[in-house]
Amino acid sequence: MKTGFRVFLAAFIALGASWCGFVLAPVLQLGTEKQTTVLNSSDIYPEQRPGAATLGLQVYRANDCAACHTTQVRQDGVTCQISLTSLGKNEPAEFKKFIASLLELPQFRACSNSVTAEFQAWNGELPETVTNLDADEAGDMIQHINAGGCKAEVQVVATGADIARGWGSRRSVAEDFLWDDPVQLGDIRVGPDLANVGARYDLNWQLQHLYAPQSLVKNSAMPPFRFLFQVRKIGSTPSPDALNLPAAFAPPAGYEVVPTDDAKNLAAYLLSLRADVPLYDAPFTREIVDTNNP
C-alpha cells in the first residue's frame, strides 16, 4: 500500500465492519430487549432483583467472583420424551404389542431401537416415560397413542452435561441477564456454575460458605471471604444473624461471627440467581408437580 491514507482506509473498513456486526447490530437487536413471558403462562420474566440482591451484584463485581465462577448454563441439544399417564381401556400386554407394530413404521426407524428397549423393560406401571425422540417422531407417536384411547403427552427436555449436573434446566439466554449491571458472565469454571445457585442452597449455606468454604466443601480451593464478616464479642444476647459454624471453624468462646451488610447483600444476590423457567428461546417442559406422591 502506497500511502498512509490507504492503510487508514483498510483499517477503517476492517474495524468498521466488525463494529457494525458486533457493536451496532447487538445494540439494536439485544439492547432494546424487554421482558418476555414464561412459556405457557402469563408470568413476566425476568423479574427485577430485590434491592439487596442488586447491591449484592456490586459486591460480586468488586470481588471479581466472575474470575472463578460462570453464571451461564450450556445446552448441547434437545430431545422429546413421551410420558404415558393412562392406558385407558387397554391392557399393558396389548399396548406393548401395539407399540411394537407402531415402531415398524418408517418414520420411527431412527428411534425404534431405543424405544423398543425401553418398552421391553417396562413393567406396566404408570406413568411411564419413553425418552430420546425428536419432535417429529414424538408428535407422530402421540397421535397414534392418544387415538388408541390412552393418555400421553410430549415433554421437551434440554440435554447437556451442565443440565445433567443439575446446574440448570435449560441454557442461559439473553433475557436472563436483562437487569444485570454489569453482566458478570464469567469465563472459567474454577468453581461451579452459579446460574441457578439460588435453587440449590439456602441463605445459611451461602453465608457459611462465604465465611468458611472448607467447612462445607472439603478441599475447596475457594478462598474464605472472612473480610466480609465480623468476629465480635457476644453481647447480652447472641445476634440472630450469627453464623452457626462447626467446631473447627467456629470463633473462640464468647465470640460470634456476624455477616456485614456486604455479605448479606451478596448472599441475597446469590439466592436470586435462578433461571429455571422455560422461555420461547429455550423451551422445556417443567417437572410434573405430583403432590399425591411427594
Binding site: 500500500m1 502506497k2 500511502t3 498512509g4 492503510v7 487508514f8 483498510a10 483499517a11 477503517f12 476492517a14 474495524l15 465492519a17 466488525s18 463494529w19 456486526g21 458486533f22 457493536v23 447487538p26 445494540v27 439485544l30 439492547g31 430487549e33 463485581r61 468488586a62 470481588n63 471479581d64 466472575a66 474470575a67 451461564q72 450450556r74 452435561a161 451442565d162 449436573r165 441454557r171 442461559s172 439466554v173 439473553a174 436472563d176 441477564f177 436483562l178 444485570d180 449491571d181 454489569p182 453482566v183 458472565l185 469465563d187 472459567i188 469454571r189 474454577v190 461451579p192 472448607q214 478441599n219 475447596s220 480451593a221 475457594m222 478462598p223 474464605p224 471471604f225 472472612r226 473480610f227
Partner: protein, 476 residues
Amino acid sequence: MNENEKIDSAVDASCRVPLLALFGGAALWLVVGLALAIVASLTFHKPDMFADCPWLTYGRALAAANDLLLYGFCIPTGLGVMLWIFARLSQAELCLPLVPIAAANIWHLGVLIGTVAILIGDSTGFMWLEFPRGSSVLLFAAFLLIAISAFATFGARRDRELQPAHWFLLAAVFWFPWIYSTANLLLLASHPVRGVTQAVIDWWFSNNMVFVWLALVGIGTAFYFLPKLAGRPLQNRYYALFAFWTFILFGTWCGIPHDAPVPAWLPASSAVASALLILPLFIIEFIGWRTAWGSVKSKWDSGPFCFVGSGVDFFFLSGLMLVAMACPQISRATEFTWFGPAQIQLQFLGFFAMTMFGAVYYILPRTAGFDFPFPKLARVQFWISLFGLALFILPLAIGGVEQGMKLQNSQIPFADISNSMLPYLRVSTTGQLLLLLGGLIFALNVFGLTLKWKMAVLKKLLAAIKAPLETEEVKA
C-alpha cells in the same frame, strides 16, 4: 561514521527521553503485574492466605495483574517501539518529543490509579476494562498524544514508500482509539447498554485489544526487526500484504465464545472468522521463518534475535490455540477451562512480551548512548523466560483440556474436577516464578540503564555549574 549511521544516531538520540519514560514505567508494571499474578495463584496452594485481606483476594489480584500486564507493560512498550520504528523508517528525528514524555507520565498515572482502584474494590467488572472511568480518560488522552507524535514523525518521512511495519503499526494507532472509546462510552460512560449486550461489546473489545492490537504492534515490530537482525530482506512484501489484509479483516471478528448466552449468529460469525484466520497465521509464521532461516545458527548469540524470533513462533502457537477454541467440537473440551487463560497468557508473555524484550534490548542502548549494566543477562533472561513459559502455559493448557473433558461427563463430581487441577496449577505457579525472575532481569537492565543516563545527565549538569565562567579581559 558514514552518513546513514550519523542520521540513525541522531534519530535515536531524539527518542531517548520519551522511550526511557515509556519503557521505565513499563518495566516496573511488568514486575508488579507478574508479582500480583503470583499472589493470585498462591490462593490455590493455600486458600486462606488472604482471607482477611480484601486487597489481595484472588479476584482483585488477578484482575489487577491482567490489566497491569496489558495497560502497564504491553501498551507503553508497544507505543515506545512504534515511535522509534517510525522515526527510524522516516529517517527523521522524533517530532514533538515533549508530547510523548508528557503522555508517558499521564499514561503511567492512569495505570496507577486504575490498579489501586481495582484492589480497593472499584473495578468495573468488565474483562480487560477493569480500570474505572477516570483512569480510562487519562489513558485515552495519553494515547492520543502519542498518536499525534507518531503521525507527525510518520509524515516527516522523505521516502514515501511504505514498509510492512508501517502498515501494521499505523493500523494499530488507528485501532486503539476506536475500540477503547466505544467500549468506554457504551459500557462505562453513564449507563451501560442493556443486558447481555454489555458482554458482547466487552468480548468485541477484548478480542480487538488483546488479540488484534497486540498482534498488529507485535508483528509490525517483528517484520521490522527480523530482517534487520537476520541481515536479509523480508520474505516477502507481497505475502506480508496478504497477511495484513486477511488478518485485519478476519481477526477483528473473533472473540464471541461458542456457548455464549446470545443469539446463535454471534458465535457462528466468530467461529467462521476464526477458521479463516488460519491463513494469515500460517503466512505470518512462514514469513518469519523464511526471513530468519539461515541466520538462526549465526545470530543465535544475539539476544534481540532470539527474542523476536521466538515471539513470532509464540504468536503462531497462541493463534492456533485461539482457532482451536473457536472450533465447535474442540470448544466443548476447552470452554470455561484453564485453556482460555493459557492462550491469552501465551499471547501476552510468549508473543508480545518476548518480541518487546527483543526490541527494547536493541533500541535502548542505541537511544540512550549507554549499554545495559548487565548485557549478558539478556541471553539468560531469554532462556529463563522460555522455560518459565513452558512451565506456565503447558500445564494450564493440558489441564484445561482434561478439565473440559471431565466437565462434559456429568458423572464426575465437580469437587473432583477442581482437585485434579491442583497439580497442574502447582507447576504453572513455578513457571510464573521463573517469568517473574525474567521480568526482574529486564527491569534491572532498564532501570540500570536509566540510572546510568541520569547519572551522566547529572554529571554534565554539575560540570556545567562548576565550570569556571569564561571571562573576557576588559581592555583598559
